[in-house]
Symmetry: D2
Subunit: 296 residues, 4 copies
């Protein structure tokens, strides 16, 4: 079993650490929140006094942080790169912009360290159940070394390509989540206003050419899919503010790759408005309220 350093014990990082420990790994953790560290220690982790220290004397140094600026900070300034032994594999599970992912990977390489970007999908539920999907970018041998570790936390580990390509893959998928969900809201709302019973509308479209994973499983119209957040008062699920974060990353990626994404752009503007209107902590499907504020 491996020695692992882990920085970032938030809603995702916490349960991921527990699954690593459960799989028999030895995990040294660091987080700015003492409470989060204590909780991890109770699960069997060791506490490290700094990010740099967490990254020292381990085979794998994993980071799970909110934004690209944090990753840059923790890797470069807070000393993960400086603290890591030669041969330590860096695995960044954060969802961040492609450019930062590549820049940090490049700097790590110059320092003689291999790195894998491995953003996840599956949410808190997936993190707890150990069923996350990891979309990985990096050299083939680095990925091969990362895979067994990631398998302790997820069940679908995909090598997408070189550095940053894991991030790119995730952000493309999640841009579609934002688009398909807002589109689903538009169609469901327009149809019911035109007199189609919502169950009929759902049944026809979900078995026809307009179907999508989101439409079928997370339909934003309340009381159409019983298990969907929209039928439970839009309790998340996947919070609208996290959708906004991903859509913003998608637009950074669109600018970086000089790609025209008209629907992605409009969906991003819509979620920005939705979050500013105070709905950030609701499920992502609450975007239907931007079209009809009477829905709740």
């Amino acid at each position: 079993m491996a020695r692992i350093g882990f920085v970032g014990l938030g809603k995702m990082g916490g349960p991921m650490v527990r699954n690593l420990i459960k799989a028999g790994h030895s995990v040294k953790v660091f987080d700015l929140s003492e409470e989060a560290v204590n909780f991890a220690v109770q699960s069997g982790a060791q506490s490290a006094p700094s990010a740099k220290d967490a990254a020292g004397g381990v085979e794998y140094a994993i980071t799970m942080l909110p934004e690209g600026s944090h990753v840059r900070e923790v890797m470069l300034n807070d000393g993960v790169l400086a603290g890591a032994d030669p041969g330590t594999l860096l695995i960044d599970c954060s969802t961040i912009d492609v450019d930062t992912a590549r820049a940090v990977c490049e700097t790590a390489k110059e320092a003689g360290l291999a790195m894998v970007d491995a953003p996840v999908s599956g949410g808190v539920q997936g993190a707890e159940a150990g069923t996350l999907t990891f979309m990985c970018g990096g050299e083939a041998d680095a990925f091969a070394r990362a895979r067994p570790i990631l398998e302790a936390m997820g069940k679908n580990i995909v090598h997408c390509g070189g550095p940053g390509v894991g991030q790119a893959t995730k952000i493309c998928n999640n841009m579609l989540v934002g688009i398909n969900l807002l589109g689903a809201a538009e169609a469901m709302l327009m149809g019911t206003r035109l007199g189609v019973p919502k169950e009929t509308l759902f049944n026809v479209i979900s078995t026809s050419t307009g179907a999508s994973f989101l439409f079928d499983n997370m339909n934003p119209m309340p009381d159409v899919v019983a298990t969907a957040p929209s039928s439970r008062g839009f309790e998340p699920g996947f919070m609208a503010k996290l959708m906004l974060k991903d859509l913003r990353l998608s637009q950074l990626a669109a600018l970086a790759s000089a790609t025209s994404t008209p629907l992605g752009a409009v969906a991003t503007a819509a979620y920005q408005q939705h979050v500013e209107a105070g709905h950030g902590d609701e499920d992502v499907s609450s975007i239907i309220k931007i079209l009809d504020p009477k829905i709740n």
Copy 2:
């Protein structure tokens, strides 16, 4: 077996008539194109000298026409309503705007005639194979009478609700087709430009939360789905100009129902540009060219 009048023998109407005859019905047809009439007669139909005449002495009068203005014209001015016997059921299989569908149904009702709006999905292929889906609007008993006739031409006959609700259901579905397809193009193009191999991008998204019927089956990036039109030079399939027609109907419906459809609106603008640029006869998935003219 029933006596049926049928007006409109285009790419859809022609094979629909043949399937009615194959099922043993007696069909009297009218179309402005003598050639289309002759072709139907060779299949066993009788030729009627006018729309009004086609609608006389039959139990069902079916119309399959390009636009709402044609339906209004044929029903009101060309005499289908005037020619129909009391008790004849009117079935309009055209895809037209909801307001016209309701207005014509109302006028028919005032003339003592029941009417069902029954737009189809499935395309020319479905019309020929008799596997169309019919999305029907109208009174329950009218639908009950229409069903056995429609079953000769399709395999999925759905009663969506009252008058016009068949049209409303179809247009909601097809608005999502336009949105999900343009979204798929944006994601595939951005991802590959960021360095994700297109097969990987397809494999990850089609098994993840960004999946949709269109993404999975009609992916607009060439050579990702072998059977998709994009892998056969964008040969249709479903022509971009027909997608534009449906998106335009969706925006009429959005205005009529006072529903904000930001993505539907942007998709409509995009297809309008695409068709004006000369791509109307290509498959609907050729919309990816609006984002990258080098794809072909």
Copy 3:
């Protein structure tokens, strides 16, 4: 001086009638609101028992109604066409969709009556001051006859072209109002969030290439233009719900003319959301709240 029938005594029609009377014309009025009729009578108008009667025995029959359906109803069913003497000139000052304007004009022509579409800009203030702009469509001689009458109510009387062209002109202008105003809101909000003092931002842009009538005079950022509605709690001015009406007409016109209007479409979706969120009676410039709900 002329004998005039006038149907529609709302916020615009009322003061328009008073200006006609002030100019020495003899005016016979009809409206469903008894109160509005009484008010006009106190100003010197005569009361007619019906729209048909108002249109009889006069040289000009003027209508000022909320929507195309009302114009159609009043002209065709309520008898303006039937009541008018041969030679009476019909002048419709309502803002309605181009197709209805043309259809009613055509029907009038078949009945031997000339008609001018003459939508206005200038608002209630302009109606009261007699300083409206009239954008007129119709035959040249009909326009020539209408002009002296319109001059009693406005100061800028423009002949734009044939039937419906007055409506088309107005709707193009007002689509730009919606676009330029939402754009102004985006720029002002983004700039101030980036640290530009709002007065500086206003001063630079209003004297540079980003300037527009709306930006310069009705800037949506409060306390930048002292006389703008945004500096008086968004008290109208021009109500957001009327902007939405015009934007909806612009999108009908875009569909009717098969024109791609991506910005017009997005602006329409935005105002639809804004009005549904309860801001319809505020000034049009309150659209900035859709971007930042903390502004008020």
Copy 4:
């Protein structure tokens, strides 16, 4: 008169240097293009062997570069900061993203050097005529020192606020340019398709509430404004690819400031498509071709 170092002798930088020399300043220049350097030398400039050298022994070090990455490179890696004497004022006239502008200014400050961001508007014509507008960000005393130098190159020198605020101001203005111009194209195209003569449409709107600097002076419909690029085969003027650059910066700014800019986003997507379709070197007003490819 002042000693000035100048890095970046492109279409803008070249004439700016000539105006500095004309005003009596002593200018030392550097550019990667030997030809551009020779041309400047013929005008009276001295040639410096490197950017670092150009910045040494002068009171002002001015940069005029295409992108933020170049500014970062030239300032930090190529040695402008290293080469500059204490007390040298850095003036960056490039149009770059706000974040980079602020980061470079911060680094300069840490190195003991004051810096002003001073992006321009007015184009090549304004650079040659010495009539540029400078939108400046930086400390008040730095701006006060920069002003007399900038006055040799422009006639409108505005202090917008602290570091980066010059960039922010310009990008807000230019986002409106993109929006107002695309909006103008939509309105002109829709109106003429509806039958309004283009001259009439122009005359009415340019004197009404839909007016804007762009609509009135650079109307995208050919042969409406005789002096507009659209009436000269869309010869620039301001190239579409430079508009795209500015719109992309606006969207970076929107993301950085977490501002929803739906129209800015859609305009950016449109210009991206337009440039990819091969129109980047045409005037910005050629965007009308995206709506109607038959216009030229």
